[in-house]
């Protein structure tokens, strides 16, 4: 961001990529403009906090669009987990057979299993593919606005020069402009930006930490994955610190909101769809148990424990009367 006269993202390969994404960028600028106008109508300042709210709302809209895909992915993951025993059976059936014919028969059987249960391991890469470009173009739009305001770049969607200038003049809390980055901001601005970068990194760190602690099956952990996880836990947040101080404040707002949304989503996922065998899954089992008991209490049915006791008693009674021997099945005599 040292080069103030030329928008670097518009040149080379990235320029070409962002040119293709223009429709997405166009849509995003209009969403921002409309949200901004709405809040101005409600009585907020023309170039002030309303732009920040516009950015936040934009992130939320994008997240809401992606959510159904994410949900579908979770569902498909659950299906795959439920199919695991059946998969195991097929694998056992062909254990140690390495000739081509049985290998082929094995893949056929697995495919049949997937097809019959509407689950597919390859079907779940789509959300990630869609997410990437959307967030990239959002980042691009927010970085481009200062250049539009200085008339160094052609207007983009809803952002003509006037709108872009109104955006660029936005002061948050009267200290930091949305186009400032860490180096160009005044002392107060530096502090605000620093806090934002810290919060952003903390969100990311906490998200990874949380899913590592709560959502990892203890059986799946070995030394290597553990060190990998620990490294990931620290590498990404620290990388974010460096890119965070380079970015204009608008991008930071977008980034922080996005990270908070991701964190909420992860927490929800760990709460409702935990990995089997993880601490979160144990908690969920306990929770489901108490909930079932409450439901039974309300309906006037015996609770799970009582039901088990009743069953055990019945069995004991049967043993008392009939002895411990299992009754042998008897052939039914057929009349000829």
């Amino acid at each position: 961001m040292t080069n103030q006269d030329q928008f670097l993202l518009d040149s080379g390969f990235w320029g070409w990529l962002y040119k293709i994404l223009t429709p997405v960028e166009w849509l995003q600028t209009w969403i921002m403009k409309l949200v901004h106008d709405f809040f101005v109508m409600l009585g907020l300042g023309e170039s002030g906090i309303s732009w920040v709210i516009a950015i936040i709302v934009l992130v939320m809209v994008v997240q809401a669009c992606i959510f159904p895909l994410f949900y579908k992915q979770i569902k498909s993951m659950r299906k795959m987990q439920a199919l695991a025993p059946k998969m195991q059976r097929i694998q056992n059936k062909y254990k140690g057979k390495t000739d081509q014919a049985s290998r082929e028969a094995q893949s056929r059987e697995m495919m049949k299993l997937y097809q019959d249960n509407d689950a597919n391991p390859a079907g779940s890469c789509l959300p990630a593919l869609i997410q990437g470009p959307v967030f990239m173009s959002m980042f691009y739009t927010l970085s481009a606005i200062p250049y539009i305001a200085r008339e160094k770049r052609a207007p983009l969607g809803a952002f003509n020069v006037d709108t872009a200038q109104s955006f660029a003049q936005t002061d948050v809390f009267g200290i930091v402009s949305v186009t400032d980055n860490f180096n160009s901001a005044a002392m107060g601005g530096k502090i605000v930006i620093g806090v934002f970068v810290f919060l952003m990194c903390f969100c990311l760190w906490f998200m990874q930490f949380f899913s590592m602690k709560r959502n990892m099956a203890a059986a799946a952990m070995n030394k290597q994955t553990e060190t990998m996880q620990k490294m990931m836990l620290w590498v990404f947040p620290i990388m974010y610190i460096f890119s965070g101080i380079m970015m204009p404040f608008a991008v930071l707002v977008y980034w922080l909101t996005n990270n908070v949304c991701n964190l909420c989503r992860t927490m929800w996922q760990v709460y409702s769809f935990p990995t089997p065998g993880s601490p979160a899954a144990e908690d969920k089992a306990k929770r489901d148990h108490t909930r079932e008991n409450e439901r039974r209490a309300k309906a006037g049915l015996p609770s799970l424990e009582e039901e088990e006791l009743i069953k055990a008693k019945e069995e004991a009674a049967i043993r008392e009367t009939k002895g411990y021997q299992r009754q042998q099945p008897q052939r039914k005599r057929k009349k000829k």
Binding site: Q100, A101, E104, A105, S107, R108, E109, M111, K112, Y114, Q115, D118, N120, A122, G123, C125, L126
Partner: protein, 105 residues
């Protein structure tokens, strides 16, 4: 003429399998994979008819399709996936002896 076109197409698919597909994790939702399907279709039905089958298969390999077992039809038809078609076949769990499996290549 058509035989040579067929050979070129099959060589192309084989090149893709060896150099591009081999470096990426397996990710097809169908069995046989699209490239194996294409080779078999080309060899059985020639460049044009087989090529058409292969293109249709590629169009089928997209999100929101179910995937699963999808063999080259025994009897040529573009509509063999539909249950009303005369060429319709149930998915087979065991490969046919006549089909050339991956083993032969």
């Amino acid at each position: 003429m058509t035989a040579s076109i067929k050979a070129v197409l099959v060589r192309g698919v084989r090149w893709y399998q060896r150099h591009i597909s081999a470096n990426t994790p397996p990710c097809c939702k169908y069995y046989p994979t699209c490239s194996n399907y294409a080779i078999e279709a080309l060899e059985r039905y020639g460049a044009f008819k087989g090529g058409l089958l292969a293109v249709l298969r590629l169009l089928r390999c997209r999100p929101w399709s179910r995937g699963g077992i999808d063999d080259v039809p025994q009897r040529y038809s573009l509509f063999y996936r539909f249950s009303w078609s005369k060429a319709h076949e149930e998915p087979r769990l065991t490969p046919l002896a006549t089909t050339k499996g991956e083993a032969r290549r």
